[in-house]
């Protein structure tokens, strides 16, 4: 997996297996693998490609896309509580425009623009005004969903539009749109952070902002961009969610998505203090938490209990990660 921050220091070839690092890097992947094996054995039709692609992955993809944006923001040492609300806002604005007869070619980009604008708003508050990220994004967390409700008047209205149907049910290269999008976005993010200076700049700003400023990195711009990308991705997910529901739903679209995303980033072994970024492990974190939930529910365990399990596994994960960091 791409791990820009801490490539292992293979100082001594004689070193024994470094368990702490193994846990940190592959812990979530190992749990995911165990869950998959369990499901292969005990869950009917799990291995069916349709189930994997069109049920499991399709459910996880929107959260994973949002989590990638969240991981970028967390790499700068920030946090974005507003992404769930932005998902709702972008989807609802688009829905209302479509219902008003605005052509999809205009309405859909507007949804993404709403996301980018929200990100710019957050980024400006954080980097220009120096407001703590949690409070800055709390503004849109609160107001964003409210605005979405105001825009739709709180009504759930079906959106009959071929393009929306396509977003929800369409297939590209044999993959659901959301899964395809996730793959494209992941490749893009890995490519940009690996091959352009952006990745190093991001980690420098998150790891030591003052040092980054002194070497001539425009720290405010880098931070703002992280929020803008996170907002844009949330805006896009707003469209995907609109496609999934095929209706406006200001109250439930993207609900708690910020928490799922943060949990996934944390489970992936990223510290919230900033300075590290690993897109691959973030996605594994999302898949792991989602599959855990689905597995439990599929085996007749109530959703509430599955939620308890999710909470516990997050605690277990960060506890192990903490131990491994201590041992270093």
């Amino acid at each position: 997996m791409t791990d820009l921050a801490t490539r292992p220091a293979e100082v001594s070839a004689l070193r024994r297996i470094d368990w702490p690092t193994m846990i940190r890097r592959y812990g979530a992947a190992a749990v995911l693998a165990l869950l998959v094996i369990f499901n292969i054995i005990f869950t009917e039709n799990f291995l069916d490609l349709r189930n994997i692609l069109f049920v499991q992955l399709r459910q996880a993809a929107p959260t994973a896309i949002v989590a990638l944006g969240m991981a970028l923001v967390i790499a700068t040492g920030g946090i974005d509580l507003s992404v769930g609300a932005v998902v709702a806002l972008s989807g609802q604005v688009t829905a209302v425009f479509l219902l008003d007869g605005v052509p999809p070619l205009v309405a859909l980009p507007i949804g993404i623009l709403v996301g980018l604008a929200a990100g710019l708003f957050n980024g400006t508050l954080v980097s220009r005004f120096g407001i703590q990220p949690m409070i800055a994004t709390l503004v849109l967390f609160t107001a964003g969903r409210g605005l979405a409700q105001v825009v739709t008047g709180g009504r759930i209205q079906t959106v009959n539009e071929p393009i929306v149907e396509f977003l929800g049910l369409g297939v590209i290269a044999g993959l659901p749109i959301s899964v395809f999008s996730l793959i494209v976005i992941t490749i893009a993010i890995i490519g940009v952070t690996r091959f352009t200076p952006a990745g190093t700049k991001l980690l420098a700003v998150g790891g030591n902002e003052r040092a980054a400023g002194l070497v001539g990195i425009r720290t405010k711009w880098v931070k703002t961009m992280a929020y803008v990308v996170a907002g844009g991705l949330a805006g896009y997910v707003g469209l995907l969610e609109l496609g999934r529901i095929q209706a406006s739903d200001a109250t439930n679209a993207g609900l708690n998505m910020e928490l799922d995303a943060i949990a996934a980033v944390a489970v992936a072994g990223t510290t919230l203090a900033g300075g590290t970024f690993s897109p691959g492990r973030t996605i594994i974190g999302v898949l792991m938490l989602r599959l855990l939930q689905n597995t439990l529910v599929a085996h007749g365990i109530p959703r509430e209990v599955a939620q308890i399990a999710q909470g516990l596994i997050i605690v277990a994960a960060i506890y192990l990660l903490r131990r491994s960091r201590d041992a270093r």
Binding site: E10, V11, L203, A204, G207, N208, A211, L214, V215, G216
Partner: protein
């Protein structure tokens, strides 16, 4: 008269061992502190000084060996237990709570109470008393953080005194103090000693040890290699014990003559620089091929001068001309474009990006130049990194996170970061602070070589010995104003000290105050 409480040494640490994850930090360390004695504890970074101190004060538990206080074995499990036993540490970075009041800092953990509630009046009075014993009269209700470091340190000592400490450990207390403040501190230490308190004093500054301590304990690689009266060792013998090899003659005294200027025009000319609140009117010139020093007491605006030249602090007035180009420098970006480089004094807060590798840290300032059509040229990056690791003798792998390196190696990586940008002028702010003797020497040798290769260097250091031995010419700052220039002929620690303290220039034909403003 045979009461162990008054006979024999106050503290004996014998055969102390400590390992961290298999790595030996202490291996047979010994230290004895007599009554009413000030003992120096020295060693290179990584020799185990701080581990020994932390074992003494209950932060770490020892693996083996014994610690006797008053002849009785002790084993402190926390700083609270150590405090109760009369052992208190004053740390280098003042470890108090800045947002709470001075009074609360002195009484934290043992607030005076009345009917179960904190008795503020008694606490304030107690704090004033404790500070009065150190001849300090300040408003104890103000937040501690609003006072200068020296005052904060005095508060820490006042706390220790009011805890009735018998053994005070001072871990590099002078590293951020001005000369005058050091004198005050030493005065307090002497009076504490006379009242029966013993002290362990850690410092990298040799002259201080000889001034205040009677005996010395030298640690090397986790072992005690010497425990002797200081008078029996001279500085060079002491350094040789620390390093474990015959000491090369440490360069002392100024250069015989200034290095030649490689161009007639200065490569950096600063005139009347001002930056609120500290820097008021500073002028100097740096020539290619020379090392220009800046000396001044703490708070004289030394660092602020460098920061405002580099665009890290706003320049409120005056001009900065780099390579005859007077375009204003408002940000570090513009400074780098003008071929300036700036090594900050605070390696941790403003230098290293801890999680990033040596490679990424080293090329951080070079990133724009390494980028071709938006793509980072990894091959060239690798080449440059390999090159500098070899050139500066950095003991590290390119892939290693920088945080795993020793202070001296981190500093070399940061120096390489700037050298890789091939600057015309290198601004160095305390480049050797907090690194061990051998790394220090290597860095100063490198500075010498850079100047010989034609770079202009501006060096700020609070260690006068360093300024004297490295520079061709020194500008003295006092209260934010450049009051004098001392050239190589008159350069000595004594002359600098005199100018810094009095503000009077050494009488001479061409170094009158502010003469450098109109320097050619």
């Amino acid at each position: 008269m045979t009461d162990p409480k008054t006979e024999g040494p106050l503290l004996q640490m014998r055969g102390v061992t400590k390992s961290f994850r298999g790595a030996r930090a202490l291996d047979d360390a010994t230290m004895t502190v007599g009554r009413s004695q000030i003992r120096a504890l020295i060693g290179q970074n990584g020799a185990g000084k701080s581990t020994l101190i932390k074992i003494l004060t209950g932060v770490y538990r020892r693996d083996g060996g014994e610690v006797l206080l008053d002849g009785r074995p002790v084993d402190f499990r926390s700083t609270a237990e150590a405090q109760a036993g009369g052992v208190v540490t004053i740390y280098q970075e003042v470890n108090l709570v800045p947002k709470l009041s001075v009074a609360e800092n002195i009484f934290l953990g043992r607030f005076p109470k009345r009917r179960g509630l904190v008795d503020w009046a008694t606490m304030r009075a107690g704090a004033r008393d404790a500070l009065a014993k150190l001849s300090l009269d300040i408003d104890v209700t103000r937040p501690l953080g609003s006072y200068r470091v020296a005052t904060q340190q005095m508060t820490a000592i006042a706390r220790a005194v009011s805890l009735e400490a018998r053994l005070l450990v001072l871990d590099e207390p002078t590293s951020s103090l001005a000369e005058r403040e050091v004198e005050t501190l030493f005065g307090v230490m002497r009076s504490l000693r006379d009242s029966g308190v013993s002290m362990v004093f850690v410092s990298h500054r040799m002259d201080e040890l000889y001034e205040i301590c009677e005996d010395v304990t030298v640690l090397r690689d986790g072992r005690t290699v010497a425990e002797e009266p200081l008078a029996s060792l001279n500085q060079y013998e002491l350094v040789s014990k620390m390093l474990g090899r015959a000491a090369e003659q440490v360069a002392s005294g100024a250069r015989a003559a200034a290095r030649p200027r490689q161009q007639a025009e200065p490569v950096l000319a600063v005139s009347g620089a001002a930056s609120a609140p500290r820097l008021k009117d500073a002028s100097l010139a740096v020539y290619a091929g020379q090392v220009q020093g800046v000396a001044g007491l703490l708070g004289s605006g030394r660092s602020e001068l460098l920061r405002s030249i580099f665009g890290a602090d706003p320049l409120d007035g005056g001009t900065v001309v780099v390579s005859s180009d007077a375009a204003p420098i408002r940000t570090p970006r513009e400074a780098i474009a003008a071929r300036l480089a700036f090594l900050s004094e605070d390696r941790r807060a403003e230098g290293i990006v801890p999680h990033l590798s040596v490679r990424d840290n080293l090329t951080l300032a070079l990133l724009p130049k390494l980028t071709r059509r938006g793509i980072v040229d990894r091959k060239r990056q690798k080449q440059i990194v390999t090159d500098y690791i070899a050139r500066l003798g950095i003991k590290a792998q390119a892939d290693q996170p920088i945080v795993e390196l020793s202070g001296g190696n981190q500093q070399k990586v940061l120096l390489a970061r700037w050298l890789a940008t091939e600057p015309a002028v290198l601004l160095l702010d305390e480049p050797t602070r907090g690194i061990d003797v051998s790394a220090k020497a290597e860095i100063l040798t490198l500075v010498d070589k850079l100047a010989a290769d034609g770079m202009g260097v501006l060096l700020v250091s609070s260690e006068l010995e360093e300024v004297v031995s490295a520079c061709d010419d020194v500008t003295v700052l006092r209260d934010g104003v450049s009051v004098a220039r001392v050239d190589v002929e008159r350069l000595s620690e004594e002359s600098l000290m005199a100018v810094m303290a009095s503000g009077e220039a050494v009488p001479s034909a061409d170094s009158a105050p502010n003469k450098d403003k109109s320097d050619d």
